[in-house]
Each structure stands twice: as structure tokens, then as C-alpha cells.
């Protein structure tokens, strides 16, 4: 059995034979350009991340949350990265790598649309044609991101199979790749997929924790007690954890979407959550062995989350491994608590987070007010993986529908806005 990209029992390369040569080519390119900085690849990558992407992002002390929870809460501001989420680190890295590899075309899947927009931006920046696959459901709930991809010159291909979310979009992108692999690079959007993707995507995102670790040491002179991030596929998570893995005194908490419930409906093949790390079982999906939401036969379940970017039945194999090793603590937060946390951060700190990100703050709240045994310690660093502009309509709608306390009254503006919008 191959040992490339194995993380304990997880990882591997479960892809159609037609793709294997591309995977090998990519593995070779990853080793040369990323790991050995051949042709100055990593230098150019870092330079572009800085000038185009806006790195480094700040580590901000959160005045109000710190006071509220009687902890020192620090925010790693990936929401300030160009495009509004951590996603650009990876998208820019991969599109640049594709260029170094002589590929002529970029494809990618997207759930929340953040990876799609990041890829579209990177592709425009580096002058590469780009096509994005996106489920119909996600297209409807992340409309601004669809516009942004189109504006950046990318084609957006709606995926109508299944429930029309991320899982189906990945499958569809793999199909495209299988047909066009010679000239096309598939920019996977998280630390999922066949090796070398999980390692490579992690490496592109590791800059988050490289900066954050240095920043917190510069600020406090010490390592934090806990480091937290939300986890869908887990790319912002591993990016935030990577440089802390070898600091055993630092707790690493990965917060997944608890959706409406952790209960599973086997009959319907639906998990009303995306809490793969907490509730998933080992299996093979989208090219890797990892934890999955699946029924007892091994059929993949439809996951659910109010946040499109967490709505995925799989998770990165490395993260699954780190959970098994007890190095990463799996946690989850349900839709309502995430919405509340969304409003709390918006109102308290003047930062409107992505709904994905809000899950991490939901857990901070629950832990700090004593809903969990772990109280996260005195100094907590949280990754603000993205901003919430893409989620405004969803939040307004869901806050009203669920009658979330923390949300401001919106009716007046839903009306005005709606009529404005209708004049389109």
C-alpha cells in the first residue's frame, strides 16, 4: 500500500485510473515546487499572497468578547484576506502551481462559493481560464458569490444531481477532470481528495498559523491555551492548527456544523448535520479514506447545515487522524447557536463573520458560559475564517424564520431592499 499522503488509517488516492497520472504529476510538482521551492515557486506564492491577497492578516484582541467571557480572546483575521476568506491561500497556491505545471485550464467545485470566488479571483489574477461547479441549492443560497465568480470571468456550471450541494459539486468536478485531465488542473477547495491534495492544501494554508503563532508570542510572550476553528472539509482548520500541532500544551478545537440535530435519518439517507468528526465512520469518498457521514451500507448521506461551506459529508483525512490521535478535539454547534454567535460577533466586535466561522464562536460561547467541560482556558485564538457578506440574505431569512433573539429587526429593510432588488 502506498504511503504517500497517509495519515494513520486515512488518506490515500482513490481515483479513477485516468486521473492517477495527473495525481502523480501533481505529487511530483508538489514536492518540487511547494516542498523544495523549485524555481522560486514558494517565493512567488508568498509574494502574491502579500501583495494581491493582503497578508499578513492581523491577530486582533477582541475587546468585547474578552470582557464578556473573562478570557483573552484573539481573532485571526482571515476575513480580511482578498475575497473575504482564508480560501485564497489555497486557491492562489494551486492556480500558481497549475501555471508552473503548464496547465491551461482551471476547474474547481464550490459549496459556499468562497472557494469558487477565491479560485476565480486567482485565475483572473494569473490569467487562466476557469470553470466552477456549484450545486443548484448552493447557487440559490449564495447568490452574491455566483455573481462574483461570473464577474471575475469564470464559468459557473450548476450541478443538479442529488441535493445540489458541495458533495455533488465535487463529484461533478471529478468527472470534468477525468475528461480533461491533460490540460486541466482541479483546484480542490479543502484538505480533502486524493493525496497530495490534503497535504498540499494544508501547506498553502499553514501560513495562517505561522503568522498567528508568531503574533500571539509577540503579543503575549506565550502560547495560547486553545486554538479554535470551524471545520467543513477542514482547510481553515488545518491552516490554523498546523504550526501548533507540536505544541502539546495548546488545545486544538475543530468546530463542525451540528445542523438541526446530531440524529441521523437512515431511512432517508440524511444526516441533519455535518458533524463528521464527531459522528462519522471511516470510509472512502472523493479520493480518500476518511471519516464520513454514511449509512450502514456505505452510501454517503446528505449532510445539512445552515452554512453552505460546512455542508459536507466528509472531512480532511489528516483532521480525522488527529481526532483519533486525541490531538484535535472535535466539537459541534447547531444552526441556531451559530446564528446567535453570528449576531453576537457582528454587534459586539463590528465583524460580520461567515456563517461557517460563526460556528467557532458558537462553541466559544457555549464553552465560556459553561455548557461544556472544557472551558478553553484563559487565552483563546479563533480563526475568523471568512466574512459574512455572502450570507446576508440567508442570515436575515433564517434569523426571522427561527426567531433568533440576538438578531436585529430587519423587516423594514427586507421590504425596501426587496423592492429595490425587484427593479432588476
Amino acid at each position: 500500500m502506498s504511503s504517500i499522503g497517509e495519515f494513520g488509517d486515512y488518506g490515500g488516492q482513490y481515483v479513477p485510473e485516468a486521473l492517477m497520472p495527473a495525481i502523480e504529476e501533481l505529487t511530483d510538482a508538489y514536492e518540487r515546487y511547494v516542498l523544495h521551492n523549485e524555481d522560486g515557486f514558494m517565493d512567488e506564492f508568498r509574494e502574491r499572497l502579500k501583495d494581491f491577497g493582503g497578508r499578513p492578516t492581523p491577530l486582533q484582541y477582541a475587546d468585547q468578547l474578552s470582557e464578556r467571557y473573562d478570557k483573552d480572546v484573539y481573532l485571526k483575521r482571515e476575513d480580511l484576506l482578498h475575497g473575504g476568506a482564508h480560501k485564497l491561500n489555497n486557491a492562489l497556491g494551486q492556480v500558481l502551481l497549475a501555471k508552473y505545471m503548464g496547465k491551461e485550464r482551471i476547474i474547481a467545485e464550490t459549496g459556499a462559493g468562497q472557494h469558487g470566488t477565491a479560485t476565480a479571483m486567482a485565475a483572473a489574477h494569473l490569467d487562466m481560464p476557469c470553470e466552477i461547479y456549484m450545486g443548484e441549492t448552493d447557487i440559490a443560497r449564495q447568490r452574491p458569490n455566483v455573481f462574483r465568480m461570473r464577474l471575475n470571468g469564470a464559468e459557473v456550471n450548476p450541478v443538479t444531481t442529488g441535493r445540489g450541494t458541495l458533495k455533488e459539486a465535487i463529484s461533478e468536478t471529478m468527472r470534468d477532470w477525468a475528461a480533461t485531465v491533460e490540460r486541466t488542473h482541479y483546484v480542490i477547495g479543502s484538505i480533502v481528495g486524493p493525496a497530495p491534495f490534503p497535504s498540499m492544501v494544508r501547506d498553502f494554508h499553514a501560513v495562517i498559523s505561522e503568522e498567528a503563532r508568531k503574533q500571539i508570542l509577540d503579543t503575549t510572550g506565550d502560547l495560547p491555551d486553545s486554538v479554535m476553528a470551524c471545520a467543513g472539509g477542514g482547510s481553515n482548520t488545518m491552516g490554523m492548527f498546523a504550526e501548533f500541532i507540536d505544541d502539546p500544551e495548546v488545545d486544538l478545537v475543530a468546530v463542525e456544523a451540528g445542523g438541526s440535530s446530531l440524529q441521523v435519518d437512515e431511512e432517508e439517507g440524511v444526516a441533519p448535520n455535518s458533524a463528521t468528526l464527531s459522528t462519522g465512520e471511516e470510509g472512502v469518498l472523493h479520493g480518500a479514506r476518511t471519516k464520513l457521514l454514511q449509512d450502514s451500507d456505505g452510501q454517503i448521506m446528505e449532510s445539512h447545515s445552515v452554512s453552505a461551506g460546512l455542508d459536507y459529508a466528509g472531512v480532511g483525512p489528516e483532521l480525522a487522524h488527529l481526532v483519533d490521535e486525541d490531538r484535535v478535539i472535535p466539537a459541534n454547534v447547531d444552526d441556531d447557536a451559530a446564528l446567535e454567535a453570528f449576531h453576537r460577533l457582528s454587534q459586539d466586535e463590528g465583524i460580520i463573520p461567515a456563517l461557517e466561522t460563526a460556528h467557532a464562536f458558537g462553541y466559544l460561547h457555549a464553552a465560556a458560559v459553561g455548557d461544556h467541560e472544557d472551558n478553553l482556558g484563559d487565552v483563546v485564538v479563533i480563526n475568523v475564517s471568512g466574512r459574512g457578506d455572502k450570507d446576508l440574505e440567508t442570515v436575515v431569512e433564517e434569523t426571522t424564520a427561527r426567531d433568533i433573539d440576538a438578531g436585529p429587526e430587519m423587516d423594514l429593510f427586507r421590504q425596501v431592499g426587496r423592492s429595490g432588488g425587484d427593479s432588476m
Binding site: Y14, P16, A18, R175, A178, G269, L285, G298
Partner: protein
């Protein structure tokens, strides 16, 4: 006894259908129709929820079969219910093989498959590198493990596959997912040449739709042809247009005969324009 026995006398015709598409009962009829139409081996799909290697035709068939309640256990019952003589190969994705209980790993699946009468497996998302466990189980239970060779497969990889493959090798005629096409790629002849000295029979699939396609492929050196979407399309039409099961079965049988005849013709004489 290996599947390669079915390639000895004449070019083999290897059709594919999804078990349980659109219903258990109808599907039984259709597989029998394939046998009547001259199938030498049947690749019988066990539907998986994320069929990343399939084009839309087979994807939809898989959805129909899943909606119809097909599961791995039902699949094995299905195989047992079939009365055909022709050998059956199970085509599915690795997660279903891997999950099948009670033991961890692929062994339980292979054991049950063997018991039901399956003679080989094709797992499109399982490259040779990841296949050791499954290979072992197949050896233990006397199943063939078929691998796919793609136009992109490198020489180095060909060697790896050659070590693992048994029964026949599935030569992917062109890049992309499964699906019936008008055009036929040039890669076929090239690939066949590259694996010319392999002893395992070479069956070509992906995009074969007509007898004439079949003829050309065999003429190019294939030991057999694999046809999926063109047949699945008939099932879909039968379902969509409320054609009777008997009528659809007849159409399947006729198309199968045509494809088989094409394959035979390919061995006998070159097609007119090539």
C-alpha cells in the same frame, strides 16, 4: 477458473447494466435479455451514491436503482435470483466494498460476492496502488479483479496494473466518464498496442454505441467490447416513455445482438472506411 476463458474463441461482448434499474424485477428481465442477446460476461453495477467515474446516463440509472431500494444485500440476492449462465462481474465503488460487514475491510464483501456467484470485480475508484487488500480477498475467494487502463496511464503504471489485474483488462477508449458517444477516440489502438504483450484479454469500453463501433474496436485489436450507456439508455427510455418491460427487454436483446455481431465482424474483416 478465470473470466479470461470467455475471450478465447471469439471477441467477447461485455454489456453493463445497473442492478435494480429501474426496479428489481425489470432489471432481472433486462439482464436475462443481455444473456439472450449474446453477452459473454455481464458487468452488473452495484449502485453507489457518489459515482464519480460515471457520466450522466449511468448516474441517472444509479439514482433510479437506489430510489428503487437497491442495496449491497439486495444486490447479492439479485445475483442469486438471476438464471443466466453468463459470468457476472460486479462493478461498484470502493466504499461499498469496504463497508460491507461484518469484518473490517473488503473481505466480507468478496466472500459474499463469491457466494452469490460473482466471478470478478471492477472498482473504478480503486487504483492498483490501493488494491492490495482487495486483491488478497479476491485471490482467496477465486474472484478476478479487473483494472482499467486509461489513455493517460503511464508505462510505469501499466506495470503496476499488470501485476494486479486478472480476468481481463478494461481498456478505457478515451478520457472522460462513461457515456455513449458518436466519435471514437484514436487512443484505443495506441493503448492496445502498448499492452499488446499482456496475456490477459483486453476489453475496450467507454463510448461504444453501435455495432459498427464494436467492429472497429475489435478490428483495432480488442479482445472484447464493453458497452454500458448505450444499453442503459434503453432502460431509461423504457422507464421514461412507459414502454412495457417485455418491449424494452426485446430492444436490449436486439441491441446486444447488434453489438455482438459488430464485434464478431471486427474479427473477421476490416470495416469499410477506416
Amino acid at each position: 477458473m478465470s473470466l479470461d476463458r470467455n475471450f478465447t474463441d471469439e471477441p467477447a461482448f461485455v454489456p453493463y447494466l445497473v442492478a435494480g434499474d429501474p426496479t428489481y424485477e425489470e432489471s432481472l428481465e433486462y439482464v436475462e435479455a443481455l444473456a439472450r442477446g449474446g453477452a459473454d460476461i455481464v458487468e452488473l453495477g452495484l449502485p453507489f451514491s457518489e459515482p464519480i467515474a460515471e457520466g450522466s446516463t449511468i448516474q441517472q440509472a444509479i439514482v433510479r436503482a437506489l430510489d428503487g431500494g437497491m442495496t449491497p444485500n439486495r444486490y447479492f440476492e439479485f445475483v442469486e435470483d438471476l438464471t443466466v449462465e453468463v459470468p457476472l462481474v460486479c462493478m461498484t465503488y470502493y466504499n461499498l466494498v469496504y463497508q460491507y460487514g461484518p469484518s473490517d475491510g473488503p473481505a466480507s464483501f468478496v466472500e459474499r460476492a463469491a457466494q452469490a456467484g460473482i466471478e470478478g470485480l471492477v472498482i473504478p475508484d480503486l487504483p492498483a496502488e490501493e488494491a492490495d487488500q482487495l486483491r488478497e480477498a479476491c485471490d482467496e475467494h477465486g474472484l478476478d479483479l479487473v483494472f482499467i487502463v486509461a489513455p493517460t496511464t503511464t508505462d510505469e503504471r501499466l506495470e503496476r496494473i499488470r501485476e494486479q489485474v486478472s480476468g481481463y483488462v478494461y481498456v478505457q477508449a478515451r478520457l472522460g466518464t462513461t457515456g455513449a458517444r458518436e466519435d471514437l477516440s484514436d487512443h484505443t489502438a495506441e493503448t492496445l498496442e502498448r499492452i499488446g504483450e499482456w496475456t490477459v484479454p483486453k476489453a475496450v469500453g467507454f463510448g461504444i454505441k453501435t455495432g459498427e463501433h464494436a467492429q472497429r474496436i475489435v478490428d483495432a485489436g480488442a479482445d472484447g467490447i464493453i458497452v454500458g450507456s448505450a444499453l442503459v439508455n434503453l432502460v431509461a427510455e423504457g422507464d421514461d416513455e412507459d414502454i412495457s418491460t417485455a418491449e424494452t427487454a426485446t430492444r436490449i436483446e436486439n441491441t446486444a445482438s447488434e453489438l455482438k455481431a459488430g464485434a464478431l465482424a471486427g474479427r473477421e474483416q476490416p470495416p469499410e472506411q477506416q
